[in-house]
Structures are given as structure tokens and as C-alpha cells.
């Protein structure tokens, strides 16, 4: 009898594995989704910052990892390559001094970032951009409620063609120049220039970089510069959906889609397994109950083995942060 019980337990335990994600991986369908922190900004997938004039050693690119694995960061034009391993909750941190050490005369550096997590068949990908403003001034960009100064990086799923234009704003009137992705535009502007989304972001191109210049007629005003990166990803992949949240007595409850294998809430890691008596392809959501603290900011990071990721932040039961650079 004891042997039978032992064998049964062995069977159940040996079947444990991470949930299967039936949605296609982000990387295979062109979606950048690594969490990036730098220049006081947080974004998922792609992030752009301006190169400071001095003290480069005080500025960093930070990549929270949450799990265990390895990373690879490369820029061919700026002669940079770094790879290494990370363990649970470690933050990969690289200074601008190191990133730009061998950039030579390059005015802009693109860093391709890959994260490989142990036991995850699919990797995660990100893109970081550092732009040298030189002596030019920042141009402002508005797309509905989205606003950015000097640099922006956005991702749109294929098939999405919002009617909203890209609106570039600068002082006075003058000449507007845009170059990138096989497109060259030179037209007059009057304090602002609107460019149709479809012109800038054709469906067939995955990632496009545009450099925008605005030269005021008034020679005393320096020209303005903007660096825009737009990526198209295939709608066959998706970001992990927002957790459902509710309160149960004094507890703060969250539930996640079945495909989620790991969740990091602040510094605590939760692992969801399946197998044995629990289906790995099911639809049953995973639940977590936390002691509720109204003064605490809950940072919820979610991973699937198929290389999908998302981050949401909650405070006082309300969503206070989600990425605004991925539109899907």
C-alpha cells in the first residue's frame, strides 16, 4: 500500500511543468516586450533617451529580469556587445558610459536586447535608443493624448490604422524635413506639421526609424530635432491581459490568464505549475491573495513560457500605470 502511495505521488510530482501558452510568441511576430528603465522613463519593448552632455557614468539602462537566465545586448554601429547571466530579481544595469564608449562619430545608437529565461523555449526582445541632440532643440510630438519630446518609440499591431495623425510641433514657421524607411518629406510648416499615420507606417515594414528636423525661418532660432521609431507587430501575438482584481475581506486578490507561468509582485515571485491532475492547456485562471496595504504600490509583472510579458501597477485598488507605447 505504501509503495502504491509513493508511486502515485511520484507520478503526480514528476508531471509538474509550467503552463502551456497557446498564443504565439511575441518575438516570432515582431513584438518587442522587454521592460526597460532609463532617463526617468519606463516602457515595455522599446525606449528612447537623449545622451546627456556630461557625467555619462551617472545614467543607466536598467532591465528588471524577475527570473533566472541570460541576456545579450548589441549595437553594431556603436560597437557595443555585452552578454551575461542574471539570477532571480536581479536588475541588469549598464551605464551610458559603457554603452557609448566606442560609438565614435555615431549620432544615434540602437541597442538590440535579448533576454533568455531558463526553461522558457522563447526569448524576449527589446530595443533601446540613445540620441545625441547636439546643438539642436527638442521637437514635440503629439498623437492624441500621447506626448513626447525629442524621441519616441511606438508599436502598433498590423491591421491597425488609426485616423490620428502624427503632429510635430516647433517654434514659428519654417521647413519641415523627415527622412526614414524609404520616405523623404520636405515641406513648409507653420508651428506644427501633421503627417498621416499610413504614410509613416506602411504595413509591410516591421520597424522604421524616422529622423525629423524643423528649421525656423528666423535664423536666430536653432533647428529642432526628433527621432521616431515605429514598429509593426503581427496580431497573432498579444500582450498578456491585465489581471482581474478584487477585494476579499482584508485581502487583495488578483487572477491571471492560464498561460501565465510566473508572476512577480514587487519582490515576491509566484510560480504556477500544472500537470498530473491539472491540465496544462486549460482555461482556469491562476489566483493570488495578498495582504492589502492602501499605501503600497503593487507592481505586477507577468511572464509566459512563450516569451510574452506585461507589467501593470496598482495603488489603492486602481490601475496607475500600464504601457502606452504598445497599441493593440
Amino acid at each position: 500500500m505504501k509503495i502504491l502511495v509513493f508511486l502515485f505521488v511520484l507520478l503526480v510530482v514528476s508531471c509538474q511543468q509550467l503552463p502551456i501558452d497557446r498564443i504565439d510568441s511575441a518575438k516570432e511576430h515582431g513584438l518587442f516586450n522587454i521592460e526597460l528603465h532609463s532617463c526617468n522613463k519606463t516602457q515595455i519593448g522599446m525606449l528612447g533617451c537623449i545622451i546627456p552632455k556630461e557625467n555619462l557614468e551617472n545614467y543607466y539602462l536598467e532591465i528588471p529580469t524577475g527570473l533566472t537566465g541570460s541576456y545579450l545586448i548589441r549595437s553594431n554601429k556603436c560597437n557595443f556587445r555585452k552578454e551575461g547571466a542574471f539570477s532571480n530579481k536581479e536588475i541588469v544595469k549598464i551605464s551610458y558610459k559603457e554603452l557609448l564608449a566606442n560609438r565614435g562619430y555615431a549620432k544615434e545608437c540602437l541597442y538590440d536586447i535579448k533576454i533568455f529565461i531558463d526553461n522558457y523555449p522563447k526569448s524576449f526582445r527589446g530595443l533601446f535608443k540613445l540620441t545625441d541632440l547636439e546643438d539642436f532643440q527638442p521637437i514635440e510630438l503629439e498623437i492624441n493624448s500621447f506626448k513626447a519630446s525629442t524621441t519616441a518609440m511606438l508599436q502598433y499591431r498590423t491591421g491597425l490604422n488609426p485616423a490620428t495623425n502624427f503632429v510635430f510641433k516647433y517654434e514659428e514657421k519654417g521647413l519641415f524635413i523627415l527622412d526614414g524607411c524609404g520616405i523623404h518629406i520636405e515641406e513648409d510648416y507653420n508651428t506644427k506639421k501633421e503627417i498621416n499615420f499610413k504614410i509613416l507606417v506602411p504595413e509591410f515594414k516591421k520597424t522604421c526609424n524616422f529622423v525629423v528636423g524643423m528649421i525656423p525661418i528666423n535664423a536666430e532660432i536653432p533647428p529642432g530635432l526628433f527621432s521616431l521609431t515605429v514598429n509593426r507587430f503581427n496580431q497573432r501575438t498579444q500582450m498578456i491581459s491585465k489581471p482581474r482584481i478584487w477585494f476579499k475581506g482584508s485581502k487583495f486578490a488578483l487572477s491571471f490568464e492560464h498561460a501565465v507561468s510566473h508572476v512577480l509582485i514587487n519582490q515576491k515571485l509566484y510560480t504556477f505549475t500544472c500537470g498530473g491532475l491539472i491540465s496544462c492547456k486549460g482555461n482556469k485562471r491562476h489566483k493570488i491573495y495578498l495582504e492589502y496595504d492602501p499605501n503600497m504600490l503593487y507592481e505586477v509583472r507577468m511572464f509566459t513560457t512563450n516569451g510574452r510579458y506585461n507589467l501593470f501597477k496598482y495603488k489603492k485598488g486602481a490601475l496607475v500605470w500600464k504601457t502606452n507605447s504598445i497599441i493593440y
Partner: protein
């Protein structure tokens, strides 16, 4: 197909007959099956890990050469114009 099913039934009946005569043998048989299953699981997991490493190795080959080339051209074109002012 029917033959195979009949053969399986015969094997099961034989096992049950043996176990009636000697219950210890049934326990040993189950134990051996469990060991065999555990070993298969272990081999499968090892194979899966190897596939993951192959996949991740393949992922390292992506690059952004074309993007960087285009970006450099655009920067040169626009910045030169801005410096000359017209």
C-alpha cells in the same frame, strides 16, 4: 485492432491471475512500471531542455543591421540639412 485488444485483455487477465496467486508480484510489477515511467519522464524533460537551448541559440542570430544602416543614413541626411539651415 480487435486482435490487439484481445491480446491486451489476455495480458491483463494473466497479471490478475498471478496477483491472486502472489500479491507481492503485483506490487513489484507496479513498482517496476513506476520506475519505468519516471525514467521516461526524466528523458523527456532532458530532451525538452535540449530543444529549448537549440531554440534560444537560434534566437541569438537575429540582428538589426538593416535598421542601423537606414538610421545612420537618415541621421546624416537630416542633421546635415539642419546644420546648413537650408
Amino acid at each position: 485492432m480487435e486482435n490487439q485488444f484481445d491480446n491486451l485483455l489476455k495480458i491483463i487477465n494473466s497479471i490478475l491471475d498471478i496477483s491472486k496467486a502472489n500479491p507481492m508480484m503485483l506490487g513489484v510489477a507496479i513498482f517496476m512500471v513506476g520506475i519505468g515511467y519516471g525514467w521516461l519522464q526524466y528523458k523527456y524533460k532532458k530532451w525538452q531542455e535540449e530543444q529549448i537551448l537549440i531554440e534560444q541559440d537560434h534566437d541569438r542570430e537575429d540582428n538589426i543591421d538593416e535598421l542601423e544602416e537606414e538610421n545612420q543614413r537618415s541621421n546624416e541626411n537630416v542633421r546635415d540639412r539642419l546644420r546648413r539651415r537650408r
